[in-house]
């Protein structure tokens, strides 16, 4: 019995070491970002690789095929969308569309001035303030590219690399992890991991499909309304939609800024707002129930606090990932209790 206890102590120590290593990795923020993003993408793509495997290909070949397809999509994106982005970026730098924007601003400024005067407040110069803001944003973009490009490049290379191995070897990783669990808790852990896998997999894949469909619909709507940078704002809206409360507002806000500031068209701004309201309704009524199904219900206050904490630690990426992560913790907690009740531990 003593040998068994010693073995259990060794196993538990190994688990603690593993947890400590994970915490070290999490402390090194950028590495954690790469591992988390690669892990999430691998999780989402796992059923696709399994479906290819079912056709008779080995896991390695199926993973290589999926990675090749992703590379192809990235290359196509690079040669079709990036040139448009450069053109739009140059237009932004050159200050194109200033005239209609100035007209719109002048109208808004006039109305604001009247209100301020009636309230006894000081003069308002919206055009100057927005001009400063725009210049600072335009100047920040090259700075961001110069300062953050090495980390960005490492991320772009390392994420697919890590993703490849997670996709290919996830089963072995899981088997190895289970082999570390003491005998008495082994079936319980296996049961728990399976349930979490199903719940979390459905949730993450649902969120991904929701973001994809919302992004495509938003891009279509913005293209129909002739909004500048419609591809970027569409993609951004899809991704931002993953962040509850703030996300839909951020997407609509970006589109509104593009229409009002770049084209000075307040009427079209209203249509953009209306389009986002309709899109959000369609998302809530049709897309989310179909794609995500049974939600990992979280209290609104928990969501708000989680977004703040996620944003504080990992920035925008943290805001994007924190809700799936909190959902994951909730699933772990609930399933642990439910599964624990079915086992007889002394």
């Amino acid at each position: 019995m003593l040998a068994g206890q010693t073995r259990n102590i060794i196993h538990i120590s190994a688990l603690f070491v593993a947890v400590f290593l994970v915490m070290v990795i999490l402390y090194v923020g950028h590495v954690a970002e790469i591992v988390i993003v690669a892990g999430l993408l691998a999780y989402i793509l796992d059923p696709v690789v399994t479906a290819i495997e079912e056709r008779g290909l080995s896991r390695t070949a199926a993973t290589a095929l999926i990675m090749s397809l992703i590379t192809l999509v990235v290359v196509v994106f690079w040669y079709t969308v990036i040139p448009i982005a450069i053109v739009q970026f140059k237009a932004l730098q050159a200050g194109a569309g200033v005239t209609p924007a100035s007209q719109a601003l002048a109208r808004i400024e006039g109305q604001l001035r009247d209100i301020c005067q009636s309230l006894g407040l000081g003069p308002v110069n919206l055009a100057e303030e927005l001009g400063k803001f725009k210049t600072s944003v335009v100047l920040k973009i090259p700075n961001f590219i110069i300062n953050d490009s090495p980390a960005l490049l490492i991320g772009l290379v390392m994420t697919p690399f890590v993703m490849f191995f997670i996709l290919k070897d996830a089963r072995q990783f899981k088997k190895y992890f289970i082999s570390l669990v003491p005998n008495r808790y082994f079936e319980f852990t296996l049961d728990l991991m399976y349930k979490m896998d199903v719940q979390l997999g459905n949730y993450l894949r649902g969120q991904f499909i929701d973001a994809l469909v919302f992004g495509l619909l938003a891009t279509g709507a913005l293209w129909t309304l002739d909004v500048p940078y419609f591809v970027f704002i569409g993609i951004f809206s899809g991704l931002a939609n993953l962040i509850p409360f703030v996300g839909p507002l951020a997407g609509a806000g970006a589109a509104l800024v593009a229409v009002v500031l770049e084209q000075g068209d307040l009427i079209r701004g209203f249509y953009v707002l209306l389009a986002f309201v309709i899109l959000k309704l369609v998302d809530d009524i049709a897309i989310q129930p179909l794609a995500v199904g049974k939600h990992v219900d979280l209290h609104p206050m928990v969501i708000a606090l989680a977004i703040l904490v996620g944003g504080h630690i990992f920035g925008i990426l943290g805001m994007l990932l924190v809700i799936p992560f909190v959902g994951f913790l909730k699933v772990v907690f609930e399933e642990s209790i439910d599964t624990y009740r079915r086992y007889r531990f002394d």
Binding site: M1, A3, G4, T50, E53, E54, S58, R59, T60, K168, R171, K175, I178, S179, N183, R184, F186, E187, L190, D191, M193, Y194, D197, T339, R342, Y343, R344
Partner: protein
């Protein structure tokens, strides 16, 4: 030493002795007797090897069951609680708990290591995964398990029938003695 390419693409220059002996063990089991070596290797990849010391509980009666166990080496006692009555003793190559592969009903008996032993766990989630990846192989295994469960059910029915006859004859003998 494993080369980086071998690590990436997962090929092995020579089979590990351990894997080969596991496949040989699986090939001898009636449950997997009609599987090819490639199929046995696929089964081997989803098995979990566990080592138990003498007296250690493998699973308890009434607990949720996740799958079956195959005894690789050693001996396992199947006991019924609460009286701790030993129902069977299982040795190398025997398997137990196979009903849990088909449903998630609670374990009908307790399994305890009678000696230090090594067993292979074959569990429902891994079987489901195998069915997803290789449905032909998955269906073959499920069919074999179903046949075994059916066979054991028939044996249990026959045993229940025999016991019922014995009970009847005992009742009649008691009634005869009372008269």
């Amino acid at each position: 030493m494993t080369t980086p390419w071998a690590r990436i693409f997962g090929y092995k220059s020579d089979h590990k002795q351990e894997d080969v002996s596991t496949i040989d063990l699986l090939a001898r089991l009636p449950l997997f007797e009609d599987l090819s070596r490639r199929e046995l290797a696929a089964v081997e990849r989803i098995l979990h090897r566990r080592h138990y010391i003498r007296g250690e509980i493998i699973f308890r009666q009434g607990e949720r069951g996740m799958g079956m166990y195959i005894v690789q080496q050693g001996s396992v006692a199947i006991t019924s609680e609460p009286e701790n009555h030993e129902l069977f003793e299982l040795k190398d190559g025997d398997f137990f708990g196979e009903v849990a592969l088909l449903d998630e009903s609670p374990r009908s008996a307790t399994a305890m290591a009678k000696t230090d032993c090594s067993v292979f766990g074959f569990f429902q989630p891994d079987l489901f995964g195998l069915i997803e990846r290789d449905s032909r192989l998955g269906v073959k295994i499920v069919l074999r398990v179903a046949r075994f469960v059916g066979q054991r059910l028939r044996q249990a029915n026959e045993r229940a029938h025999t016991l019922s006859l014995e009970l009847d004859s005992l009742k009649q003998a008691v009634l005869g003695a009372e008269r």
